[in-house]
């Protein structure tokens, strides 16, 4: 079947398609631990909203509050202008694809998918459920029990079970985590298709940045129960506003710098003896010590010849690793530390360990952060 057959059931969603999801001042405390901290979010109806953040930052908790599976300690949630803070989960036009699937083990795959429809006494529940199974390419397994499916198949059943209800808001908690790369990409395309064609609001939690960046209209990066930065994916990637976002979303080289002068729209910087420039509107701070950041792929790596170009630093190749489509270098830059560089394998010459190189970039891609930020924030130590 095609996704168009999954036309929206007007009875299912309380507020219809025009239902913005609004979280105001939401806080969730577990005894003395604050999992979500005074969160404000507006998720426009019909948008694909991604929540990114390290493990334990409060993503699942946020979704559970939206779903009504958890009561916020403070704050309110409204959907399409209607306050749903106190409503039970079964009364909300919201469905969840659980992080752990939560399939009913005693029911067939088809019964699992039809469960929500039957509860709402939808007439052709079975047929709709079959259609949803088609969508995730599992109709041939409709009669099986969940235990007889592979992890990836189970996850797709969970997806179908939620999507089939055409809820106003669909909450997805790492819905593709168990799928291998190829299948994952395929499902991403399907999900995006469903979302645009049927016009659902998706709130998507994922660890996979690429997934968030490719699929979402808006990405919010969470840390310790708060949203650090929010916006369209390219904007967030291009201009992170905190070291955490810069490091967590892709890789960044953050270098301590001192503002030596302000010239019109441009800041003059000094980094370990090199004179650099930075656009004023791409920096959060304009005086004193700041951090200047540049993405590894924005760096051009050239053999270190005498001519010291503007906006470049020098270093020695420490390590080169071939990753197929590209090669990742670690360069020990003088006075700056280790800098990561990323070059596409067009087939040009590769550098080897020990080569002296010069790294240059277009100042339009550099960004400036407050000097008080922790250069390592979000760079992976959280998971330890």
């Amino acid at each position: 079947m095609s996704t168009t057959e999954l036309s929206r059931d007007p009875g299912a969603a309380a507020g219809g398609t025009g239902a913005d999801l609004v979280l105001s001042g939401i806080t969730k405390r577990f005894s003395d631990f604050t999992a979500v901290d005074n969160l404000d979010l507006v998720i426009p109806s019909g948008s694909f909203f991604a929540l990114l953040g390290p493990s334990g930052c409060g993503k699942t908790t946020t979704l559970r509050m939206i779903a009504g599976l958890e009561q916020p300690t403070a704050g309110s949630i409204s959907l399409g202008g209607k306050d749903i803070t106190g409503a039970s989960s079964y009364q909300r036009p919201v469905n969840t694809v659980f992080q752990n699937y939560a399939l009913f083990p005693h029911m067939s795959v088809l019964d699992n998918v039809a469960f929500g429809l039957k509860r709402r006494k939808v007439r052709d529940a079975e047929a709709q459920a079959k259609a949803a199974l088609d969508l995730v390419e599992l109709s041939h397994l409709a009669a099986r029990r969940p235990a007889q499916l592979s992890g990836g198949q189970q996850q797709r059943v969970a997806l179908a079970r939620a999507v089939v209800n055409q809820p106003a808001v669909l909450l997805l908690d790492e819905p593709l985590g168990a799928l291998d790369m190829k299948l994952r990409r395929q499902m991403q395309v399907e999900l995006k298709k469903i979302q645009t064609e049927v016009g659902l609001t998706f709130v998507h939690v994922t660890h996979d940045q690429e997934e968030a960046l490719t699929m979402a209209d808006t990405v919010a990066v969470m840390n310790h129960g708060r949203v650090e930065q929010m916006g369209p994916p390219q904007e967030l990637y291009d201009l992170p506003r905190t070291a955490f976002v810069a490091n967590f979303l892709g890789k960044s080289n953050l270098m301590p710098a001192t503002v030596t002068a302000v010239a019109g729209d441009t800041l003059q910087l000094e980094v370990a003896g090199n004179a650099l420039t930075l656009q004023k509107d791409r920096a959060t701070d304009h005086t004193g010590r700041i951090l200047v950041g540049i993405r590894p792929e924005k760096l051009r790596m050239e053999p270190d010849l005498a001519s010291a170009a503007q906006d470049s630093i020098r270093g020695v190749v420490l390590d080169a690793s071939f990753t197929g489509a590209s090669t990742e270098y670690l360069v020990d830059a003088e006075g700056v530390g280790t800098v990561g560089v990323f070059t596409q394998n067009h087939g040009g010459a590769l550098f080897a360990d020990g080569d002296r190189v010069r790294l240059a970039w277009d100042p339009a891609h550099a960004f400036g952060l407050s000097g008080s930020e922790d250069r390592q924030a979000g760079a992976g130590e959280d998971g330890l």
């Binding site: 577990f30 005894s31 752990n100 083990p105 235990a147």
Partner: protein, 312 residues
């Protein structure tokens, strides 16, 4: 403790993945909870707790001078406890001794049974099912009938004794029944399912990959059992030993049918005859209460020492 296999046998159940603290925190409060537990609890209060209290009261009654058989008046005669303890401490000790030996024997016999069914036959669903039923089905033959059968099988003129005598494994006037040996055998036999089932339930959830990991890390079969399989099954062993030891201590049917009258007397027999022959309710109650306390004391020590969540 899941005493029995849960038919489905889909292997290890889904773990909730919660630590016990988180689990506690995820519990709900509310009236529904009380509605759920109240009927059962009232029942247990009325028909377990209250009777135990009235047993305690009865144990302090006295028989007035010249009163006829079975006639007592309420009192607070704590001396009753001294009297029965004095008369029957050997029977109490013997009961614990017999029960202990029977429990160990049942463990030695029951563990391989449970292991065979739960681990070795894990994938032979049908055979496993049949053997599992064989463990429970004897309940339906009535244990008295089976004990009586043992009595006949082991009788002096029976097949086993004759064979043992002719093999000179038993002296010509030797016998098996009406001996402590027979009583302990009976106890072992009759409480075997109570040992086997909890161990089975535990081993069924054993991740056999851990056994492989043991082999991979240079442990031979026996070491793997000693260091991994057995320690992991301890909760099942705990439950099994308790469920065997407790009823075995209080049992009197085996001693009555398979024992002789003095060297094998168990405390259950004494309580029974104090109630039903001598009609000495205070004495019988005092003994019952003592027995209950003693068992409770041992059980709590044991649980403290080895710790189990399976039963409590």
């Amino acid at each position: 403790m899941a005493l029995l296999a849960t038919g489905e046998a889909t292997g290890p159940g889904p773990s909730t993945g919660l630590s016990s603290a988180e689990e506690e925190a995820s519990k709900r409060r509310g009236r529904v909870g009380y509605l759920l537990i109240l009927p059962g609890f009232i029942f247990l209060l009325l028909f377990f707790a209250l009777p135990v209290v009235s047993l305690l009261a009865t144990s302090l009654y006295i028989k007035p001078e010249g009163a006829d058989v079975g006639q007592f008046v309420p009192a607070l005669e704590f001396g009753n406890y001294l009297v029965v303890l004095q008369d029957y401490w050997p029977a109490i000790l013997r009961s614990f001794g017999f029960a202990l030996i029977a429990t160990v024997a049942a463990l030695i016999i029951g563990y391989p049974m449970a292991y065979l069914v739960a681990v070795r036959l894990r994938h032979r669903k049908l055979l496993k099912g049949i053997l599992l039923v064989l463990i429970i089905a004897p309940f339906f033959t009535s244990f008295i009938l089976r004990t009586q059968a043992w009595k006949q099988i082991l009788a002096d003129e029976g097949p086993v004794v004759s064979v043992l005598r002719s093999l000179a494994l038993l002296p010509p006037d030797g016998r098996l029944t009406a001996t402590a040996f027979a009583v302990i055998c009976g106890l072992t036999y009759n409480f075997l399912p109570f040992m086997t089932l909890p161990i089975y339930a535990n081993l069924e959830r054993l991740d056999t990959r851990l056994i492989e990991a043991g082999g991979d890390l240079y442990a031979n079969g026996f070491t793997t059992f000693r260091k991994i399989t057995f320690p992991l099954s301890l909760p099942g062993v705990m439950a099994g030993t308790l469920l065997t030891f407790i009823p075995a201590t209080g049992d009197y049917v085996n001693a009555a049918l398979l024992g002789n009258n003095q060297n094998t007397t168990m405390i259950g027999q004494v309580i029974d005859s104090r109630f039903f022959r001598v009609v000495d309710y205070p004495g019988a109650s005092a003994l019952s209460f003592l027995l209950m306390l003693a068992i409770l004391f041992l059980v709590i020590l044991y649980v403290r020492r080895f710790g189990t969540k399976e039963l409590m």
